[in-house]
Symmetry: C2
Subunit: 449 residues, 2 copies
């Protein structure tokens, strides 16, 4: 990439048009759209944009590495196919659609586009979770728009629902199922009684999980989306590294058996809520948790996603649907393009505020907890556990034990009254040093509301 | 109301301001908001609008009959309280918020406001279901906006989610639970095994149902909302009188017992879907129906609402939350006000299209059906029913009969393979003439997808 050359081209283009960086598309004028990244989502976006030729949006450029191998039939002849991002960025396109993902070069291309007086639509959750507030600020400065509805929940209109549909409310909590791979694995474990490893393998064979599932299973994918929802919905500035993730790989088949005894099931839950007090503190985490079987969220099927937003006035609102896939994600991208096309006025006025309040972040939810022990059984274990817990001021709610386990590897569960998870974690560290454990105890929060 | 006087005042005001009917608020300028109708929702809107004094929206007028008895403390002193709609309509407010409901005088006041160069926000489902396309056309002609997000589903951002968040898709089906009263009654019947009459009485005592529950129970309230969603989402022009309603009062406690045998429950479902073919035909109805216990929609709690929108590309999206109540509805109203405030350009460009295609409407869903009979038992009944049904080409899927009914009033259920409900209805008319019925058979569609 020959950066200096590209920038000089961009500025030449700007001086030709004579209006950048404050270039504003005229109402009714066609808007030229350039696409960078022509994978599954990119092909769907091109299909959606070119099936409707009456609108204001015209796809003029498609850019991808090795573009000749990417050409597809059926798209209008006027489209310029290129493997040079510089060529697209220095062209007269009005809106850049960025679909390559990752921090760089996507971030640099988006910044160059905004500085050249173009608006931007992106599905890049990593970039927006890292640089969203900075990019929104740059867009506002340049009188342009940046929209990222496709970066969270694929086709689910969660960002627009939260930022526009609930603009009149003051939201204090965002939570949901933000990763379809984890939801698929956990629903399979629940339905078939299989182990995590077996369910993961099945998900990989069916294409629901990648060969390296780390980002999904550890919670990093969900966390990026939670950061974006927190910035857009709670308007709090938060970084990914401030939010704790716990993997779903610690869940075993027996946990679903005990969860069902408690009228619950287990899902990967991403949750962020404004703490009481001065409103700058956030409690947030991505982790497996128990949720009631009777709740809406327990009935999210397979790889679908669900986002809840709770406000002081409207209460809890739910958005659900297909959180990934080429066509659903393309619908979100094209809906953002339509939104830009509809707003004929100065775009800065339409830019929605995000991330106004820098947040301090903790991971301590004060909720009931589920703790599963696997022990080499002998008399006195419950008494020892109860003694340690009582020293930390934690009350036991119930002890569940299914029959049929061998004495040398006996699974049982304690449910605990609501307590601060950081206090409980210190208690569990002490408990982990006791001599009867066969495996490390598993502790899950119970989100019962 | 002295209509002629009011109109002359309005035109005087227009000539004074000198810019109507093409008056356009300047970007950044404060927008004056006038409220007509100061009931529960109106008070919540006033509270939300006046708690935030940094924004562009300023509440300047509150109008209600007998206004002196309606005054509440805590609102800014500059607000003008009046019982004259004429005074508000001839004032310099930029946006009228209409919350009185009903066709008239609300319709006339909204038309006058639009003609005087004001934008309008309304929660009036009856008016928008009857006159929505006409009012949107008038708003566009006058360069103004009319928003009605609060007319369906209270605080649930369904209209904006469908019109903006799914703008890139082509929707073909809208369905959901649009009436909280019916949902409350049916969930109570399900949970407690009570009769419709008992559940209705309880709902009335708790304020979830009105003294005259006709509009809710018969489905008229849901139908108005379904019309609006159909016009906004499927963009098909449809009138309320084209859509069949069936009351939930025909449901008995025993139907929940049989539904559970079928892994289903019963809810009032509003459903509209574009028929295959030339796309001008709609299949729509509001009726009690069987839905799977495992579905998201079966887990909508008490008086909550749920809207699903299914598109060719994004699949099925779900929006759920509190569908009524002062605060949730006020959030929808204020969110619409924010939307107007954000759009600084010519408002007509921001007006979303509705109801482009005039629709012919049928009520025949080709789905499996549940038919519950109450008979004076004798040998040969099943054979007689099967003979009639087979003459209409309808196949029986299963026959369910719970033990414990008296022979003289025996309830049993047949489930039928998918068939056109209009054909089935003709078969059931013939069946109704057989001599063994104690009550008229109850036929419900089964929406299993």
């Amino acid at each position: 990439v020959t950066e200096p050359v590209a920038q000089s081209r961009a500025s030449k283009s700007s001086s030709r048009s004579g209006t950048a960086p404050k270039r504003r598309p005229q109402p009714g004028k066609k808007l030229k759209v350039g696409l960078i990244g022509f994978g599954t989502v990119g092909r769907s976006v091109a299909k959606l944009l070119t099936r409707d030729t009456h609108g204001r949006l015209v796809l003029t450029h498609i850019c991808n590495r090795n573009i000749e191998s990417k050409r597809v039939a059926g798209l209008p002849a006027h489209i310029k196919w290129t493997d040079s991002a510089d060529e697209l960025l220095s062209s007269d396109v009005d809106i850049l659609v960025e679909l390559i993902g990752g921090l760089e070069p996507a971030g640099e291309w988006i910044r160059r586009a905004l500085r050249a007086g173009k608006s931007v639509v992106t599905a890049n959750k990593l970039l927006i979770s890292e640089c969203g507030p900075e990019l929104v600020k740059l867009a506002r400065k340049m009188g342009q728009r940046i929209e990222f509805g496709a970066s969270v929940g694929g086709g689910i209109p969660a960002i627009i629902g939260i930022q526009e549909g609930l603009a009149g409310d003051r939201l204090y909590k965002i939570s949901g199922i933000l990763n379809g791979t984890c939801n698929y694995i956990l629903t399979k474990m629940e339905a078939n009684g299989t182990s995590f490893a077996v369910a993961l393998k099945e998900a990989q064979e069916l294409g629901y999980a990648e060969a390296d599932p780390t980002s999904d299973v550890e919670g990093f994918d969900s966390r990026a989306k939670l950061v974006i929802l927190t910035q857009a919905g709670l308007r709090m500035q938060v970084r990914s590294d401030q939010i704790a993730c716990r993997p779903i790989s610690s869940i075993e088949a027996v946990d679903f058996v005990y969860a069902r005894e408690l009228n619950c099931t287990i899902r990967q839950i991403s949750s962020a809520q404004r703490d009481n007090g001065d409103g700058t503190r956030l409690v947030a985490a991505v982790q497996p948790a128990l949720i009631p079987l009777a709740s809406l969220i327990a009935h999210v099927q397979g790889s679908e996603n669900l986002v809840t937003a709770t406000g002081e006035f409207a209460g809890r609102m739910v958005f659900s649907g297909f959180g990934a896939g080429g066509d659903p994600t393309a619908v979100a991208v094209v809906s953002d393009l339509h939104s830009i096309a509809r707003s004929a006025g100065p775009p800065a006025a339409v830019l929605r505020a995000i991330a106004e309040i820098p947040a301090s972040v903790g991971g301590e939810f004060t909720v009931p907890h589920y703790v599963r022990f696997v022990v080499n059984d002998r008399p006195g274990i419950i008494a020892e556990l109860a003694t340690v817990l009582s020293r930390y001021g934690i009350s036991i709610n119930a002890v569940l034990q299914k029959p049929g386990f061998p004495q040398s590897s006996l699974s049982f569960v304690m449910t605990l009254e609501p307590c601060d998870s950081s206090v409980l974690n210190r208690g569990l560290e002490e408990i982990a040093r006791l001599d009867f454990h066969v495996r490390k105890p598993l502790c899950l929060p119970m989100f019962l509301e």
